[in-house]
């Protein structure tokens, strides 16, 4: 089959590789009909995620048709149309049973590496380094899905791929980001980053009843999408004005009730701060650039919540712990507990409350995956989201 393989930093190749096989009795093999490039794939592309190997198949947002099931999979049959969550969860460990699916204790066969770095290992992920399992990803013609009796969500035939594909990651991720803000009536939410996850965080904050949602980015087309499609009530271009001053102005000096970091470890910011963190990264004094997160903590109103859904990998420098403590802030974060959100969000799509396809700007063939990454990483042609089809 054809698959998009990581061949080194900023080097991808669509190669012919063997077809996947059932390795465990609870596996299913999916013929991928649609798959997408995630912003977090760009961290791999740019070489910020350790333990990648040449030949690793990328991709953790995919859906398709079941073509084979392992002997223990009773709920799926050949021909079923499914969306696959990016986190792999067994459903049987105490974390899964406590609804903390992205912390599954059984799905990472390479947990030892993660334990060395983080104390404990999170769940295994598709196509996201050997530290997180060494699972082949879904930017391929076929994919093996472990614990297929627990993860994949069946979707009805009537809804096009583009409307349900993002149930695989970015819609639930943005939604969890908003849910963690514990939104109450009258709340003002600020969202850093208007990539696809940021767009869904904005849309979800609105769905969850936020009074106002303020979108922050530096690309006018992304701010435009946030305002026109996701429902942001105000936008701030941080290259044109001071985020902190503007947020105070928009909230009568209070600051946002909750702040969502939908940016993560490759943040950009005002030139001087960006240069500082980029230099620190280069000099091995930090692995992640927490520019958006720092600003979110400083901006947040006392007693408010900072919700972190942008991906971080290691260590950061100049973390405003004093502000966090003295302002009684709550930080909430995590990889998305996918299985918690997929079905309720499918229902919202079915009821017409949201059409997630609004983020798609580029449609390509799987063979063009390298070009898709290139376009996305440089934000060419106002790129927001690339969907690849088989």
């Amino acid at each position: 089959m054809k698959a998009n393989c990581w061949m080194g930093k900023r080097k991808l190749e669509v190669r012919d590789v063997p077809d996947p096989k059932i390795l465990n009795s609870r596996d299913a093999i999916i013929r991928v009909t649609s798959t997408a490039i995630c912003g977090s794939d760009l961290h791999i592309y740019n070489g910020f995620i350790p333990t990648m190997e040449k030949g690793d198949i990328l991709g953790h947002e995919f859906m398709g048709e079941v073509v084979e099931t392992g002997s223990a999979v009773k709920n799926l049959k050949t021909g079923d149309r499914v969306v696959v969550p990016f986190t792999i969860s067994c459903g049987a460990c105490s974390m899964c049973q406590r609804d903390l699916w992205s912390l599954c204790e059984n799905s990472n066969p390479n947990a030892a590496i993660a334990e060395t770095l983080m104390g404990h290992s999170p769940a295994g992920l598709f196509g996201y380094s050997h530290m997180l399992g060494g699972f082949a990803g879904g930017q391929a013609e076929f994919a093996r899905v472990p614990f297929a009796d627990v993860g994949p969500l069946k979707v009805p035939a009537g809804i096009p791929d583009e409307q349900v594909l993002f149930l695989s990651d970015i819609f639930p991720t943005g939604y969890m980001g908003a849910e963690m803000c514990n939104i109450r009536q009258g709340d003002v939410i600020a969202v850093w980053g208007c990539g696809p996850v940021g767009q869904f965080a904005i849309a979800s904050a609105k769905l969850l009843g936020a009074e106002r949602v303020i979108a922050i980015d530096r690309f006018p087309y992304r701010l435009q999408m946030a305002a026109d499609k996701a429902g942001a009530t105000e936008t701030i271009n941080y290259e044109e004005e001071s985020v902190l001053e503007r947020l105070l102005e928009l909230t009568g000096g209070r600051g946002p009730d909750a702040c969502i970091d939908a940016v993560g470890l490759e943040a950009h910011g005002p030139a001087a701060i960006y240069a500082y963190d980029r230099a620190k990264q280069a000099l091995m004094l930090e692995t992640d650039r927490p520019i958006a997160l720092r600003e979110a903590i400083i901006a947040c109103r006392p007693g408010g919540t900072v919700s972190v859904i942008g991906v971080y990998g290691g260590l950061v420098d100049k973390f405003p712990l004093g502000a966090l403590m003295n302002k009684s802030l709550t930080i909430r974060t995590g990889q998305t507990h996918m299985h918690r959100y997929m079905r309720p969000l499918l229902e919202r799509i079915e009821r017409g409350e949201i059409d997630p396809s609004f983020v798609i700007t580029h449609r390509m063939k799987l063979e063009d995956a390298p070009k898709g990454f290139e376009t996305f990483v440089h934000k060419r042609e106002n790129c927001e989201k690339v969907v690849l089809s088989a």
């Binding site: 350790p50 105490s94 399992g133 280069a282």
Partner: protein, 351 residues
Amino acid sequence: MTTATHEFTGSGRRHADRLNEPNGGRSDGRGNGQRSSKGPLADPVRVARGLGWFSIGLGLAEIAAPRRIARMIGIDDDDTNRNTLFAYGVREIASGVGILAQKHPVTPVWARVGGDMMDLAFLTRAYGSSSSQKNRVAAAAIAVLGVTVLDVLTGKNLSRARQSEHEEGNGVAPKQGHGVEVRRQITINRPAEEVYRFWRDFENLPQFMEHLESVQSLGDRRSHWKARAPAGTTVEWDAEIIEDRPNELISWRSVDDADVPNTGSVRFVPAPGDRGTEVHVELRYDPPGGTIAAAIAKLFGEEPGQQVRGDLRRLKQVMETGEVVHSDASIHRGMHPAQPSAEPMTEGAQR
């Protein structure tokens, strides 16, 4: 490694036992390596601590800035080298933590010696590579050699310090040599009876203990064990159960002239908050070749603590999900990209 684990390490317990003896507070200052010998390495524990922090610093650097390190030591800044440096970084941190977490870090210091060997092997290969900067590689190798000498001296001093402690101890020490002792724990979301029952049938053990080829029950309390040893060899021994408290504890030991004399025990404790069963494993064995061989084996992925941790993780997978969980990469020994493989998976190929 937590403080709690630390208190239970062999040397820690021996130390505590000694303190409980009437003459426990002997004032010769031994035990912590504060011996009266002269010279800069007089206190091997202190030197070891320094080496531990050095390991952590170097490890962090290798993980955070493999590119810079690659340039510094004159090797190619390619993905293979970066991944190798990352793996070495993880190893350095683990060995540093190992040293700092133990009162008598004999094994971790010898592990550093093994690590030095790996570094030297890596640099030798790099020196032979046409694209490396030979003068930088050579300088790095000399630096590593210097550290190796310090590691060996410290290891020897620590071993000697612990040997004398053994000799004056009260018989807690194993019969032969120092032995390797491993304690690991995992919580399994199943009732204690179920986990106990599974473990009590020793023939189940190879399902999750990677190094075991087979265990054959020889009737009531005896069993025959066959294990894969480093370098493609196998070792076999007979074991007998010395204690069996249903749903609580099983302990066993090798009998007769086992190649690798060993003892083990597993305790099953109900986990608080309805979280199943805590499984506490304790193993002790005398590896062929002694502590140094064990330390070097450790560097090549045979580290017993990690091994037992992996075995327990697989036990948890089997108990909770019904089987050992595989990924496209994990079914292969050694490195393999995360993509399906052409060959059908065979029993032997599984880790």
